[in-house]
Symmetry: C2
Subunit: 325 residues, 2 copies
DNA sequence: GGTTTGAATGTAAACGCTTACATTTATAAA
DNA sequence: TTTATAAATGTAAGCGTTTACATTCAAACC
């Protein structure tokens, strides 16, 4: 067994209270005393037991990041980015980070964390448990209708608008979209915004220019091919995300179309794959690391008892123009 | 404040011991009693306090995954994969997972976890602290010379051998390598194995067929171009990882070389980018999720007091042949 | 009905800290 | 030196569980 505060107390000849203070509130003990304590601790290789501290202090200095997305996880580049941002902040603040993909996480061992950052689509059911236990909540990349939790979201409308208007500014009039079948809310926003922007510019959206595909390359490739081989094909394709846009590019290349001359392609997310493609894929960048950092800072703020000045933080995406447009 | 076991005890009219038993050892209390307890707990919305349990049981049911790699993190596809594997297992076993990129993690709050899985290159210094505290240790994707910790590693020699012999079997005699400058140990193994396999087959390795590059696409592209534009260029390039191989492909495409006819390219890691490229990139697949799962299972084994039958588990990589070769 | 026995429950001492409050010690002022 | 005051330290009661041990209860046997 590791040594306890009592052993240090005995060896250094001071009370356990003083040992405790020497560790967690050094200014409150005399220099000489602190030295004695630390020396004893060194000899015994003592470190305060974190669990006992949590027990006594009623706080764990743990927060959790929960990825609430059906079939997705830390493997998702976007959530990994958020997680990375959260890790940076929690590390600096000396908080520990628990990570889980979670539907039902809330039901078990809830009171082990001071706060939980929910990424993806949390449900009211998940959240109510935390609320009852007074566990702090921050939402990231998601809004929960009817609630005003502190949250960090990305301005997808603007992102899509930038992508589409970029195509238009390049002279494209026949623009197709490969809509997605992944996160329902996101897919809806991206498609709806695509439509409104085109309408605003007086451009038509014939049905044959729209296809819905699964978020994997082969399906995107199939659907893109269908769009491209028709009579009077579009001169540009907007993919609902980079994976889908990648499929579009592959289809175009296989059909012998030149990118961007015969057909331009743009994606969304600015994932790593964009720079790997030839030509490189234009896309819309969302700074997910910053989203993570911001949500973690919000959480720390909450935990230190501050109310943040506002509850909704919006990250503005950036258009990244590359060779594909 | 949340209710405690005492509140439940009072409301249900039994002792706290019985409440505790009703929760953590249901068979040991009479059906009727358990029902009373559970009803009281339901009314009070009681849940056992996990911290107090950890305190009393002297176990946290937390394990940590530490990514010990200088400039890398959960953003790294490979470590994300390991992490995903660990998460699956810990989730099933109802353990919580702490994740951190760590150099110095060991120094602080060490005793909050029952065990730690170290990914990347842990140092003896990091480990000694855990050993003293009797925290269980498992290594993944790394060996620690001179120690025999339970560990899961990938058989890189075989992986490289498969890649190179695949090129040879395709008739290539002039094979170049873009060696890497990332993880020193890995880079060394990959390069050395490349050389020995070529030697075994009596093939030359002229200096002009080897270049070392940083693990980013632009640099790989530059170096690959240097290799390709020389007189008597290689007919195949082995990239030390997929990023580097991607750069090689881009260089070849830009130079107007046909892949795989003018030059074949193969990578290592089988990351997501492989299937995005056109043609798709052949590579060597390491099942990192399985490495994660295995290391987590090893850890759970250790924590339940079993000695694993052996300490070194080797994952065999698989060759994935695609259009680029 | 009285024993015996095993199961169910209760009592109370840990687990290793923190912290309000009490006490002692050092410092400054008179 | 005495006294007032502030700083340092000590005492002991929590924090919310678990669990060894003691006690009670119920069923089964004689």
């Amino acid at each position: 067994m590791a040594h306890t505060i009592k052993d240090v107390s005995r060896l250094s000849g001071v009370s356990t209270a003083t040992v405790s203070r020497a560790f967690s509130n050094p200014e409150s003990v005399r220099e000489a005393t602190r030295a004695k304590v630390m020396e004893a601790a060194r000899i015994l290789d003592y470190q305060p037991n974190a669990i006992a501290q949590s027990m006594a202090r009623q706080t764990t200095e743990h927060i959790a990041f929960l990825i609430c997305k059906h079939d997705s996880s830390i493997l998702d580049e976007f959530y990994a980015g958020i997680c990375d941002g959260i890790m940076r902040v929690t590390k600096d603040a000396d908080y520990r980070l628990l990570v889980s993909t979670a539907d039902d996480w809330g039901s078990t061992r809830r009171n082990q964390v001071d706060g939980v950052i929910l990424g993806g689509s949390a449900t009211v059911g998940m959240i109510s448990g935390y609320v009852r236990q007074n566990t702090k909540i921050v939402l990231v990349n998601h809004e929960l209708g009817g609630f005003d939790f502190p949250r960090v979201v990305s301005d997808e409308q603007t992102g899509v608008r930038m992508a589409v208007e970029h195509l238009i500014s390049r002279g494209h009039r026949k623009i197709a979209m490969l809509a997605g079948r992944f996160s329902p809310y996101i897919c809806e926003v991206r498609f709806n915004t695509f439509c409104s922007v085109l309408k605003e510019h007086g451009l038509p959206i014939p049905d044959r220019y729209v296809r819905i595909c699964d978020p994997n390359i082969p399906d995107a490739e199939r659907q893109a091919e269908r769009i491209l081989i028709q009579q009077d094909p579009p001169t540009a394709i907007f993919g609902a995300n980079d994976v889908i846009a990648t499929g579009a590019m592959k289809a175009a290349i296989r059909l012998g179309r030149k990118i961007p001359d015969d057909v331009a392609v743009i994606g969304y997310d600015d994932s790593r794959v964009c720079e790997a493609l030839e030509p490189e894929l234009s896309s819309v960048h969302t700074d997910c690391t910053r989203m993570g950092e911001l949500s973690a800072k919000l959480m720390l703020d909450l935990l230190s008892g501050n109310k943040p000045e506002k509850n909704r933080f919006v990250i503005e995406p950036k258009l990244v123009i590359r060779g594909s447009t």
